[in-house]
């Protein structure tokens, strides 16, 4: 047999096989394998990610569980912390020292000194400018008022401008000094006067309303709100936005002291509203509080995220009063981490029991109007005026300290008070 004879024999042996058709079947099987591989790859990827995530979770949990150790000491309170007297409308409140005890309180040192009176000598603002205003007083001569400015360096200067009285008397309000401490504004009949303490430049802006009573600066110290019982305006004193009017009339409010920035606290019993002022939208509601406020005194003065204003309450079960209505300073915080607080200015209870049965007349009463918020020493220390005194309320500790005894009727405070 030759080699060439092998092939015909093999062909003969393989002949009975049918003709196959494998192209479609092979391609389909290839597609199925490809899909199966992709699915497996995806599943494997997901499983790997899951395993990594679980491992990270377990590692994180084990690390957290190792780190979370219950503290063995109670949280420390600030030095001198005083426990609140209770709660009013869900807010902690403290009771201010009674009237007459101010002299014996701890003192908060400021450029105002122990007592605040008109200075005997004061330099001319033209010759000695101030970098930061601590306080503003008014000296009166024959119904004409002249401003006296106290700098953060405890230097007094006087501005050579004569101011007319306004409907309530001296043209000086709590919000007179700008947040940067450079400017001071005085409401005037049909206008507002602004003095720049750093340049001694005085500007007068005319307004179309006679009765204007309060001023309040915006945080940019370039605009001031001027309001009275019939109208409110925003006056541009610095560089403004494109096309901004020098004087813009605002929505009128009946309370001449309510138009304040950046926050405004007002409203009736059970619904006190905190509003934030913006250039475009005016006052927008920030939050509502259930405080028992029947009337408001003075302006809302804000520092950082906290706004403070004094209100008079009708009757409070938490505060015993017999001859007057309790007054409260509400320090309302807009930050979630800082609680809002109240300070009650009540009566001085009788030192001796009454000769006849019945409630004893208090030894001293703080009448509405005697007290209002003046400003802030720092973001957690509010300054307020009570009859004849400027006091400081530390919101963190609840302590009330004396700042100065007032021998003048009106004062406005600026950021320079912190020295």
């Amino acid at each position: 047999m030759r080699r060439e004879d092998v092939r015909p024999l093999l062909e003969q042996a393989a002949r009975p096989l049918p003709e196959p058709d494998l192209a479609d079947a092979a391609w389909s099987a290839g597609l199925a394998i490809r899909r199966r591989r992709r699915r497996s790859t995806t599943i494997a990827g997901v499983v790997v990610l899951l395993v990594i995530a679980i491992a990270a979770l377990v590692a994180g949990l084990s690390r957290n569980s190792a780190e979370v150790v219950p503290p063995d000491t109670v949280p420390s309170l600030p030095a001198g912390y005083i426990r609140p007297a209770g709660q009013i409308s869900g807010m902690d409140f403290w009771v201010a020292p009674p009237s007459g005890s101010e002299r014996f309180l701890d003192r908060l040192a400021t450029p105002l000194g122990d007592s605040l009176r008109l200075p005997e000598t004061a330099a001319d603002l033209q010759s000695e400018q101030l970098q930061e205003i601590a306080a503003v007083l008014l000296s009166e001569t024959n119904g004409i008022y002249r401003p006296l400015l106290l700098g953060a360096n405890a230097r007094w200067v006087h501005a050579t401008i004569e101011l007319d009285p306004i409907a309530t008397g001296p043209p000086l309000g709590s919000g007179a000094v700008s947040p940067d401490g450079r400017l001071v504004a005085f409401p005037q009949p049909r206008g507002v006067v602004v003095i720049d303490a750093t340049t001694a430049v005085t500007r007068r802006y005319s307004l179309p309303v006679e009765d204007l009573r309060s001023v309040s600066w915006l945080p940019d110290s370039a605009r001031v709100l001027v309001s009275g019982p019939t109208a409110a305006f925003r006056v541009l004193t610095g560089a403004g936005g494109f096309g901004e009017e020098s004087v813009t009339q605002l929505r009128w409010t009946a309370d001449p002291y309510a138009a304040t920035a950046p926050y405004r606290l007002d409203g009736g019993p059970g619904r006190v509203e905190l509003r934030r002022y913006s250039l475009n939208g005016g006052w927008t509601l920030e939050s509502t509080l259930g405080l028992p406020a029947s009337s408001w005194v003075g302006q809302t003065i804000a520092a950082g995220d906290t706004a403070a204003r004094l209100f008079v309450a009708d009757r409070l079960p938490q505060v015993q009063t017999t001859a007057s209505r309790p007054q409260l300073i509400a320090a309302v915080s807009t930050a979630q981490t800082t609680p809002s607080r109240l300070l009650v200015l009540g009566e001085t209870p009788a030192a001796t029991p009454p000769p006849t049965p019945g409630p004893a007349a208090p030894d001293a009463v703080r009448t509405p109007g005697c007290c209002f918020v003046l400003g802030w020493y720092d973001p957690h220390t509010s300054l307020f005026q009570v009859a004849g005194w400027v006091l400081a309320w530390d919101l963190e500790t609840g302590q009330v300290r004396r700042v100065t005894e007032l021998e003048v009727n009106t004062v406005a405070l600026g950021p320079g008070i912190a020295g």
């Binding site: 024999l9 062909e11 196959p20 290839g30």
Partner: protein, 151 residues
């Protein structure tokens, strides 16, 4: 990989499947196994279609190397013993049968067979001689190396 069969792939398979099915049948001795192996080889080729340099060698390796595996030895022509050729092929070892088919049916060279099966050329040559001798002897032609038979 496209969803429908590639025309070039289909033409390639159509041109070769009949011949390779027959040679696989001679190697494995089972028509089902032969078709299964050939389908497997074409499926692998479909997965890499367009990326294989020598598709013929690729398919042949996948088609014939499993016949040499000791774990899946073919059981050739168990139900068909009428043809003497099949009986002789059954008597050969898997590697001898595969080499014989590739050399004399596929008409590959010994070097090509060595590459397809992953064997050395010497081994292929030895298996080829042995297989051819056994094939001749089984069909009654005697060993070709015997001088008397040559005459």
């Amino acid at each position: 990989m496209r969803e429908t069969v590639d025309p070039e792939f289909a033409a390639y398979v159509d041109a070769r499947e009949a011949r390779w099915l027959r040679s696989a049948y001679l190697v494995y001795g089972e028509p089902e196994r032969a078709e299964e192996q050939l389908l497997h080889a074409f499926t692998r080729l479909a997965l890499r279609w367009g990326r294989v340099d020598d598709p013929d060698a690729f398919v042949q390796r996948l088609l014939y190397q499993p016949a040499l595996s000791r774990w899946s030895r073919p059981k050739p022509f168990e139900d068909d013993d009428e043809q003497p050729v099949k009986a002789v092929l059954t008597g050969l070892s898997p590697v001898q049968r595969t080499v014989l088919v590739l050399l004399h049916f596929e008409e590959l060279t010994e070097f090509e067979v060595a590459e397809v099966l992953g064997l050395s050329h010497t081994a292929v040559h030895g298996h080829a001689q042995t297989a051819l001798s056994a094939f001749r002897s089984g069909l009654g032609h005697g060993d070709w190396r015997n001088a008397e038979d040559r005459r």
